[in-house]
Amino acid sequence: MGNKNSPFKMVWRQFKKNRLAMFGLGLFIALMVVALTASWIAPYGFDDQDVSRRFLSPCAAHWFGTDNLGRDIFSRVLHGAKVSMSVGLISTAVSASVGVVLGSFAGYFGRKTDNIIMRILDVFMAMPQFLMAIVIAAVLGPGLINCMISVGVSGIPAMARVARASVLTQSNQEYIEAARSINASHFRIILRHVLLNAMSPILVRITMGLAGAITAAASLSFIGLGIQPPNPEWGAMLAGGREYLTKYPWIVMFPGIAIMISVFAMNIIGDGLRDALDPRLKD
C-alpha cells in the first residue's frame, strides 16, 4: 500500500517542514544512539573510581572533568543516557498503555463505565503527579524498576484523560455508526476506528509525557527515591554534586545540561507533532 497521501505520510511531510522539530528529532535519535552504545563509546566505565584524579576540571583526558570519586563525568553522562532513556520510555509505555485503555473505555462506553473510571482517576489526579510518584516510590522503595513503576503509574491519570477526551470527539462521528451497521465488534471499533483517529492528541501527550517522565525520574533520584548509586542517573548525579556546586560546578553542570537537552528534544518533537497533526487532518 504505497499511497503517498496516506494520513501518516502527510503528517510526516508536514513534520519535516518544521526545522526545529526535525532538530529535536535528531537530538532524540542521537540520545537513543548514545543510550544504546554507551558501553562501547564511553572512554571509562561509569563506576571507575580513581581517587587520585578527583575534581579534575574538563580537560583532554576527561572532557567533562571528574567528580568527587574521580569518576569520568563524560562516561557517566553517556551511561546515564541509557538509564534515563530506559526509565523514560518504559514508564511512559506503562502510563500510555494503561491510560489509553482506561481512557478509551471511559470515552467509548460512556455512562456508568465512564463514571466509575473517571471518578477513580479523579482521586488520583487530586495529587500532583510528582507527589504521587514520591508516594509510590516511598512505598516500593528505591531502585531502577520501582522508579519505572512509580513514574509510570503516576502518569496514568493524565494520559487517561487525554485519551478519553479524544475518543469522545471521535465517538460521535458517523463512521463509527457505519462500523456498527456492518457488524463490527466493540473491540474492532475501538481499535480500528476510534483509536486510530483519536491518536493525534494522545501521541502528542506521549511525547510530552516522555519529557515529564525523564524529569520525574531525575527528580526522584535527586531526592534519593529513585535510581541508587552507583548507577549514573542524571538526577542522582545532580544530587551527588550538589555540595560541590560552587567549587566544582561541572559535576552538576553536565548532567543538568543532559537533562535539559533531553526534555527540550521531547517537547520540541511534541510541539512539532501537534502542529503537523492539527491542520492537515481537519480537511
Binding site: 500500500m1 504505497g2 499511497n3 497521501n5 496516506s6 494520513p7 462521528q173 458517523e174 463512521y175 455508526e177 457505519a178 462500523a179 456498527r180 451497521s181 456492518i182 457488524n183 463490527a184 465488534s185 474492532r188 480500528r192 476506528h193 486510530l196 483517529n197 487532518l281 480537511d283
Partner: protein
C-alpha cells in the same frame, strides 16, 4: 407483491434534562419488496431517527418492526448480526461517514472481512466489482477520503452498503450534501441499483423534488408524527394535510413562470420535548380549531392508499 419491511406503532423517545423528547411517535407503514418509501420532513421531524431505529442503530422505545414477515423488534446478538447483512444504511455526510484513515478498498473490504465468509482473494475481486458498480475508477483503490470530492466519497458509502448484498437500504439524505449535477448522478445510480438488484429503499430527505423522483410512496413527517402518506404522484397532485400543502408550496421551483401562491406558515416549530396533547402542527396551522388543541388527529384513509392525520382533512379539500 410481498411486504419486506413493516413498522407498527413505532416510537423512539429520548430522555433529556428538560423532559422526554418524542423523536418518533407512533409511525406505521409497510414497504413492498423492490419499492422505495420516501420519508420527507424538515429538521426535527424525526426522519433520521426513524431510519436508525429500524436498523437497530438505536433501540426503539415501543412498537414493532417486521422484516420479511418476522418480528425483529427485539433482535439481538447473532440474530441482529444476520439481520444487518440484509439491512444497510447510506449516510448523509460523505466525509464523516468514512474513516479518514482507511483507504477506499479497506472501507469496502471491512464488512466482508467481518462477515468472514469469503477468502482474501474473493474479497478483493468483490471489492473491485463493487467499485465498478458504483462508478469508482479502480485506480482509486488506495486513495483516502480526503483526496476525493463529496460525490466520490458518497459512492464509497454506497459500495460499502452494497458489500453484504443487502435486500433493504436506509438512505439517510444521501444526496443532500452534494452538488446538483453530482446529486443527479448518484440518484440515477441508486435507481439503477434498485432495478438491477431488486433493492428496497427508505429514502429520507428534506428535498421534495428529490423524493418525488425516487419514491413510489411517500410519508410526510412533522415533529415525530406521520401526518400524511400516499403514493408519490398523488401526494403531489392532491396533498391533503395543511402541512404537506405548505411544504409543497414552499419549494422553490426552477421555473420563472410558476407564480404559484405560497402558503407561508406562521411561527416556528414547537418543541418535540413533552409535546402538548393535540395536533403537533396546531401552532402554525391556519385552519386550527379548538379540537386541534385538545385531540390528536388519527391517520384516516381518504383515498386509495392515501392517509392523512387532520381533523378537517375532508373540509379543507372540498
Amino acid at each position: 407483491m410481498s411486504t419486506l419491511v413493516e413498522v407498527k406503532n413505532l416510537k423512539k423517545y429520548f430522555k433529556t434534562k428538560s423532559g422526554m423528547l418524542h423523536a418518533v411517535d407512533d409511525v406505521n407503514f409497510a414497504i413492498e419488496k423492490g419499492e422505495t418509501l420516501g420519508v420527507v420532513g424538515e429538521s426535527g421531524c424525526g426522519k433520521s431517527t426513524l431510519g436508525r431505529t429500524i436498523l437497530h442503530l438505536l433501540d426503539s422505545t415501543d412498537g414493532q418492526i417486521f422484516f420479511a414477515g418476522k418480528d425483529i423488534t427485539q433482535a439481538k446478538g447473532r440474530e441482529l448480526k444476520r439481520l444487518r447483512e440484509d439491512m444497510q444504511i447510506i449516510f448523509q455526510d460523505p466525509f464523516s461517514s468514512l474513516n479518514p484513515r482507511m483507504t477506499i478498498s479497506q472501507t469496502i473490504t471491512e464488512p466482508l472481512k467481518i462477515e468472514g465468509k469469503m477468502r482474501k482473494e474473493e474479497i478483493r475481486i468483490k471489492v473491485a466489482e463493487l467499485m465498478e458498480t458504483v462508478g469508482l475508477a479502480d485506480r482509486l483503490v488506495n486513495t483516502y477520503p480526503h483526496e476525493l470530492d463529496g460525490g466520490r466519497r458518497q459512492r464509497i458509502g454506497i459500495a460499502r452498503a452494497l458489500a453484504l448484498d443487502p435486500k433493504f437500504i436506509v438512505c439517510d439524505e444521501p444526496v443532500s450534501a452534494l452538488d446538483v449535477s453530482i446529486q443527479a448522478q448518484v440518484l440515477n445510480l441508486l435507481l439503477d441499483l434498485q432495478e438491477k438488484r431488486g433493492l428496497t429503499y427508505i429514502f429520507i430527505t428534506h428535498d421534495l423534488s428529490v423524493v418525488k423522483y425516487i419514491s413510489h410512496n411517500i410519508v410526510v413527517m412533522y415533529l415525530g408524527r406521520m401526518v400524511e402518506k400516499a403514493n408519490a404522484r398523488e401526494l403531489f397532485e392532491k396533498p391533503l394535510h395543511p402541512y404537506t400543502k405548505a411544504l409543497l408550496s414552499a419549494v422553490p421551483v426552477a421555473n420563472i413562470h410558476n407564480k404559484q401562491q405560497r402558503i407561508l406558515l406562521r411561527g416556528e416549530l414547537s418543541s418535540p420535548i413533552n409535546p402538548k396533547p393535540g395536533c403537533r402542527f396546531v401552532a402554525r396551522c391556519i385552519y386550527a380549531q379548538r379540537i386541534c388543541h385538545n385531540e390528536e388527529p388519527k391517520l384516516v384513509e381518504l383515498g386509495k392508499n392515501h392517509v392523512a392525520a387532520c381533523h378537517f382533512a375532508k373540509e379543507i379539500n372540498q
